[in-house]
Amino acid sequence: MRTVIRFVALGIALVGLVFWFFGGPNLGWTKTQVPVLRKDPVTEQEYTEWQKNFVPGLDFVGAALGVAGLVFGLSWIARTPSVRSKKT
């Protein structure tokens, strides 16, 4: 049981890191929309258009590692079947 929980924790950490890495890797805050710069051809004004796009940031990685750590911590509480059978 402990091993399974630890693998789950590892999986959460890895998925978080991989998702962050291939989504940027963005060293800032998580973005739910990104600015796209445009230019008006007549006035030559640069202006911003916002596009919906999820870009995970360091807070996302932190949250993923935090959850993974919590799940890993739970593995210390869980008992393995072998320990339980020995006691009975």
């Binding site: 060293l27 800032g28 805050w29 600015p35 006035t43 004004q45 202006y47 911003t48 258009e49």
Partner: protein, 204 residues
């Protein structure tokens, strides 16, 4: 009789000077008119933009120093990249959009004006109102008068002129009561603003 003529001439002169100033409407359905803002912060600078801009400016290309007008920014149009951050920014501590729905700049006077071709650079003094607090500020501006360029911008649908106003300046958020309690080592007090707006004056 002489007095009557003098008064008549005075009225005529005032009328001519008003007539020479062109009224530019800054209502912008395309969303090109933008105010960008940036505040320094530890992880990354907080940057965003607002494009809900409207207003009117009276500008005489022959006498730029007589510029008058008001620009209004819809506070709810302020955007940042993070949805939660945007919610905080529109909230009571920061911009309090529900109570103060607009940011207003009213042009009062223009000084140090230098015109080269269609571009005037100058120092514009005006009244800036944010979150219900009004301060007099003087900011550098670059004003481009684009004669007969409205047609190109509207794909030939309207004839007229364009006026483009650009400015970069800094204000302190604490001066306007924008979350003065927020520690400056978390979010800088200085807010860098970049304004780029275009108004149109259609001609029949």
């Amino acid at each position: 009789m002489k007095n009557l003529i003098a008064v008549g001439l005075l009225f005529a002169a005032v009328h001519v000077s008003q007539a020479a100033a062109i009224k530019f409407d800054f209502k912008d359905p395309k969303g090109v008119n933008t105010v960008n803002f940036t505040m320094d912060a530890p992880l990354e600078a907080i940057s965003g933009s607002a494009n809900g801009i409207s207003g009117e400016v009276h500008f005489d290309p022959a006498q730029p120093s007589g510029i008058k007008g008001t620009l209004t920014v819809d506070a709810a149009s302020m955007q940042v990249p993070n949805a939660m951050m945007k919610q905080h920014m529109h909230g009571k501590d920061w911009m309090d959009v529900a109570t103060h729905p607009t940011l207003v700049f009213e042009a009062v006077s223009l000084s140090d004006a230098k015109t080269v071709g269609e571009v005037t650079t100058a120092q514009l003094t005006g009244k800036l109102t944010m979150k219900g607090v009004t301060k007099t500020v003087t900011v550098p501006v670059k004003i481009s008068y684009l004669k007969d360029k409205l047609e190109a911008r509207t794909n030939g649908q309207m004839k007229g002129d364009l006026l483009v106003i650009r400015s970069n300046f800094t204000v302190k958020r604490s001066d306007f009561g924008i979350n003065p309690k927020a520690p400056v080592d978390k979010v800088a007090d200085e807010v860098a603003l970049t304004l780029s707006v275009a108004g149109s004056a259609p001609r029949s």
